[in-house]
């Protein structure tokens, strides 16, 4: 540069603080490390432009019994069968069912040899790690533990964790959200940032579940309020008419796509 003054001062600052990335490096990281992980539900994959993106925090919100947990289990099974990597599942309401997962795995891939089938299913299910968390603090602990596991770097490529599912984050947060108390809101926001940091630094596709609450004039709206709206990268709303297996997913918010688009797909058994 033209003067030595700024460069001298700069050298003292260079060792401190995180470095700035330029656009080329960012693009390189995005194209190389932040892949789209297909979910196995065609309509959903088309809506998302390929699947759940690594580095993104995706929220799935819907009324009760609309198939949110079902979709989570199916996505976990699909990603495990296709060997994209390991999946970590944080379960807050004992909704994780190994039997269901096993039957979904059976459905996704063709059975080869019946004798080896059971062993093969066990091997695939080994890549899905389920952990129960019943309050927000244990969620934070579990996330920190996950971070230290990821930092160990002793994991090989195909067992590397690529997805984190939290079913459901709203059941942990809504009890602590008081209207005037900022502690609850700050816990919610810090959980959101912790998740986004994990997603970005370790290339995880994070899927969180939210439920609906009653809003004004009898309508329903997603829980966790206005402050939560700015946190996820992608927000998806799920709806299903009772008795039907077809569910409709619409895009509430996306970082690079116009919202309002929707897709329909058959909910997997």
């Amino acid at each position: 540069m033209n003067s030595s003054g700024p460069t001298r001062a700069l050298s003292t600052f260079q060792s401190q603080g995180p470095p700035w990335m330029n656009g080329v490096e960012l693009l390189d990281d995005a194209l190389r490390n932040k892949r789209f992980l297909p979910t196995g539900c065609e309509g959903l994959d088309t809506l998302l432009g390929g699947g759940l993106r690594q580095g993104h925090l995706t929220e799935l919100v819907g009324p009760s019994a609309s198939g949110k947990t079902q979709i989570c289990l199916y996505v976990a099974s699909y990603v495990a069968v296709k060997h994209f990597g390991s999946i970590v599942f944080f379960d807050t309401s004992n909704s994780f069912s190994p039997n269901r997962v096993a039957s979904m795995i059976n459905q996704i891939c063709e059975p080869v040899h019946k004798e080896r089938q059971e062993r093969w299913i066990m091997k695939i299910m080994n890549s899905i790690h389920c952990q129960s968390v019943f309050d927000i603090f244990s969620l934070h602990d579990a996330l920190h533990e996950l971070e230290s596991t990821l930092m160990k770097k002793t994991i090989s490529e195909d067992t590397k964790i690529c997805m984190l599912i939290v079913d459901s984050v709203s059941s942990l947060i809504t009890p602590i959200l008081g209207s005037k108390d900022s502690q609850g809101h700050s816990l919610m926001v810090s959980t959101g940032y912790l998740l986004k940091k994990l997603a970005h630094e370790w290339n995880l596709a994070i899927l969180v579940i939210n439920h609906m609450v009653s809003g004004e004039r009898g309508t329903t709206k997603p829980a966790m309020g206005e402050s939560w709206k700015c946190i996820p990268h992608v927000r998806l709303q799920l709806s299903r008419s009772p008795g039907s297996r077809i569910c409709c997913i619409s895009l509430l918010r996306h970082t690079s796509m116009a919202s309002g688009r929707s897709a329909e797909f058959l909910i997997p058994n």
């Binding site: 700069l10 600052f13 260079q14 995180p18 470095p19 700035w20 330029n22 656009g23 960012l26 700015c230």
Partner: protein, 243 residues
């Protein structure tokens, strides 16, 4: 005076050739409810800043200057920036060849047609992307330390070069509002440790930004989400004094 505006036609945002007179040295806050295209406006401004004025005979009208993007929301998508850049380049080509250069509908990356890809010059894209600098902060203290390292008005690129700044974009200010309100540093002895309250933090942020502006006249663009109901953050300490 504190200039606060909600821009409705972000594609025309070209400082200083815009309807609203914005020049270097101004601090602009773009505020609105969630999902009101604030980040999109910041993105368009960044693209218009990193584009050159002219390239290979095509007029882009950009500023050809470096942009520093501080991402406090941590939702920035570089592929979106790249798409906006490519669309802007193609629309400039379109108007140069006399076709209707209206607002092009924003389409996802995959639907970019192969024939249009010929118009995109790799060298141009590379030189533009090299002028874009990005950093993420996950807490107010990280934000403050980033601002402090920017003090001389330059930022250090990964190659070790000092890059002079022209636009500083902050997306979005007030992101750590809840965390800062609830969190208070433990005070062992009140003489030596100060409680970093929300007001003190925002004051420090304003101070650091003003320090940078003293050394280097730059345009500061910040987006802010307005939360309705009882949770509206107080604006008192966040007013940026405008010279």
């Amino acid at each position: 005076m504190f200039a606060r505006m909600e821009l409705e036609r972000p594609a025309l945002f070209l400082p200083p050739l815009h309807r609203v007179p914005i020049r270097a040295g101004n601090v602009v806050e773009i505020t609105g409810p969630s999902s009101s295209a604030k980040s999109e406006i910041l993105l368009q401004a960044a693209v218009n800043c990193i584009l050159p004025k002219e390239w290979n005979g095509v007029h882009f009208g950009g500023l050809e200057r470096a942009v520093a993007f501080i991402d406090l929301d941590c939702r920035f998508d570089v592929l979106r920036l790249y798409d906006v850049l490519k669309l802007r380049i193609m629309s400039a080509h379109g108007s140069a060849h006399g076709t209707h250069g209206d607002l092009i509908e924003i389409c996802p990356t995959k639907s970019l047609m192969v024939s249009q890809a010929d118009l995109l010059d790799d060298d141009l894209l590379l030189s533009c992307m090299k002028r874009f600098f990005y950093i993420r902060c996950y807490s107010s203290s990280e934000f403050l330390s980033t601002l402090k390292t920017m003090h001389p008005g330059y930022i250090s690129s990964s190659e070790g070069l000092a890059v002079k700044l022209y636009i500083l974009i902050i997306d979005s200010i007030g992101a750590f509002h809840w965390n800062d309100r609830a969190c208070q540093l433990p005070t062992k002895e009140d003489r030596t440790w100060k409680k970093l309250s929300l007001e003190k933090l925002t004051e420090s942020v304003v101070q650091e930004i003003n320090k940078i502006r003293e050394v280097q006249p730059l345009l500061v663009l910040a987006s802010k989400v307005t939360l309705f109901g009882a949770a509206v953050p107080t604006n008192g300490a966040q007013r940026f004094p405008l010279r």
